[in-house]
Symmetry: C2
Subunit: 362 residues, 2 copies
Amino acid sequence: MAEIHAVILAGGSGTRFWPASRRMRPKQLLGVGPDPNTSLLAATVRRLSPICSPERTWIATGEHLVAATREALPQLPPRAFLGEPVARNTAACIGWAAMTIHRQDPDAVVMVLPSDHHVGNEAEFLRVIAVALGSATNGPITTVGIRPTRPETGYGYLEVGAEVAAGVHRVTRFVEKPDAARAAAYLESGRYLWNSGMFFFRAATLLDAIAQHLPALAAGLREIDAAVGRDPDPTKTLREVFASLPSVSIDHGVMEHQSLLHVVPGAFDWSDLGSWESAWELGQKDAAGNVLVGRATVLDGHNNLVQDLRTDGRRRVVVAVGVQDLCIVDTEDALLILPRDRAQDVRLAVEHLRAGGDDDLL
Amino acid sequence: MAEIHAVILAGGSGTRFWPASRRMRPKQLLGVGPDPNTSLLAATVRRLSPICSPERTWIATGEHLVAATREALPQLPPRAFLGEPVARNTAACIGWAAMTIHRQDPDAVVMVLPSDHHVGNEAEFLRVIAVALGSATNGPITTVGIRPTRPETGYGYLEVGAEVAAGVHRVTRFVEKPDAARAAAYLESGRYLWNSGMFFFRAATLLDAIAQHLPALAAGLREIDAAVGRDPDPTKTLREVFASLPSVSIDHGVMEHQSLLHVVPGAFDWSDLGSWESAWELGQKDAAGNVLVGRATVLDGHNNLVQDLRTDGRRRVVVAVGVQDLCIVDTEDALLILPRDRAQDVRLAVEHLRAGGDDDLL
């Protein structure tokens, strides 16, 4: 039987959860959501542990993040960490991982999962994963789509076609983030699922698809593969070739061009944790709806997210009085305050600091 | 001619401007208002310097605050600082100062001024002070009342009677902080002034008034005076007697019982700087109405007070995005966030910390 490998996508630029997230400490290394003490990455690996051993778990990350990422996952062997010399989007990253796995196990079935999402119902999650792996083992590239529970405009969607096996459907098309009217129509139709960014395939199947749709990427990957088989230290080739690979997402570069894709609908709680707002939504709330982390207090105020994320051990209190619907995030060297409904605008703070030459705070 | 002495009242518990103000660093030691770099106390002494020399300037403060207060006023001689062993309200404090001055200068004319108020028009202020000193030199205890510019409910008022000399009126009565309807009526009548808390008198006149209205205080002050004339170190007597003095304000204990009081109406800009809200009102605003101190930035938000008051030299930024009408005050060991229109509720934060045993942060 084909072995199952997991590739966890753990790159990221660390801006949406600034000042908690930084270039050297992106979101997946933080405890965002219900459990502030476990990084999203560690939670992702733990969640997969019933079906994927550490020996077949791979972490695709940036070269500059390998050290921090290994620290978060001490149970994995060093070779599990694939550090991209330069970010070239998900097609290159997943292609490289698939090639690396295929080299040691030509029959491998691979699941690719983001490292920084929230999953609320793990039994249903594992059931769906198992169905998707079954589909991918004997068929085409398969994805998982989440049944929408609201007319969300922040996610991409998949249109679902005929059921081809128990719990497995054809994908009719990929849809970009819709406007509110379209999102409402998608929800009502029952024919659309949220695009979870999870993919399941035989390594060989994905490499074939890359060869078909992204020949330049396929050529680059072959060059890297040849160096790995030939050179005592293929790092130099990897570095040179990687920089030349086309930068395109796996969705745009491969999936949307595939004539046959399968999808397994899932009904587990799921969030891509796109902003501090989602951290509040999923966080543990007190009676007044406040999500408090660290030495933080809200008096006569409700529905705030207040995080004191200092780790320097210095005495300090954070006290908010009479405020509503704010995000307050305090770290050693930066403090951010913004309304929950403007959580996306953390980018304004990041852009301001970048423009002012304060990259060391990002 | 009688010499003019100034007594600056510089006690205070330091709660209204928490976390900037602390028990050991009350409001008058901070730069609240238009000039964040000069303490209110230093500004008060400087403002009086045209009419009162350092040799005749006295600072009434708590014993525990003498060191910090001397640091703020290095130009004054050590004997200028009257450190109360225990707080016994303004009647005891002013009585003690008047007695100390009277001992060295029986003809002295004394002006008593708060150390923590804002004065905007110094020429008019000095003109009014001069008129009040003239009234007090040859007549009864005199105060200064500020012409109201709005129906303020946060101040006490003085009702003004007949003019007895150029720019000098009789005080008809003291009025406690009024409700909104009453404050509007006071403003409209033109017969009411804000009680500025400034008093002008011959030292001998005040001591007579204390003897008449507060005989227990007068007896205690005589005991202290005797010890000063007799003992090489009268500290022990001072400490013992001070603790036994009645605790009452000069308004309630003396002024309201005086049959004859004069008042000089003044039209200078004045504020008692009662809360962070008044600090915002008087602070230097950027184009968006934000008052920013330290390394603080507001993006796409207006009318906020954001103060980064750290002095530890560590790298740090405070960034607020999309917020309105907030006070954000950051110090090394405490961060406060509250709406400007709830600035009085800083007391909730102080009470919370006190109840939790965090007195070291107060």
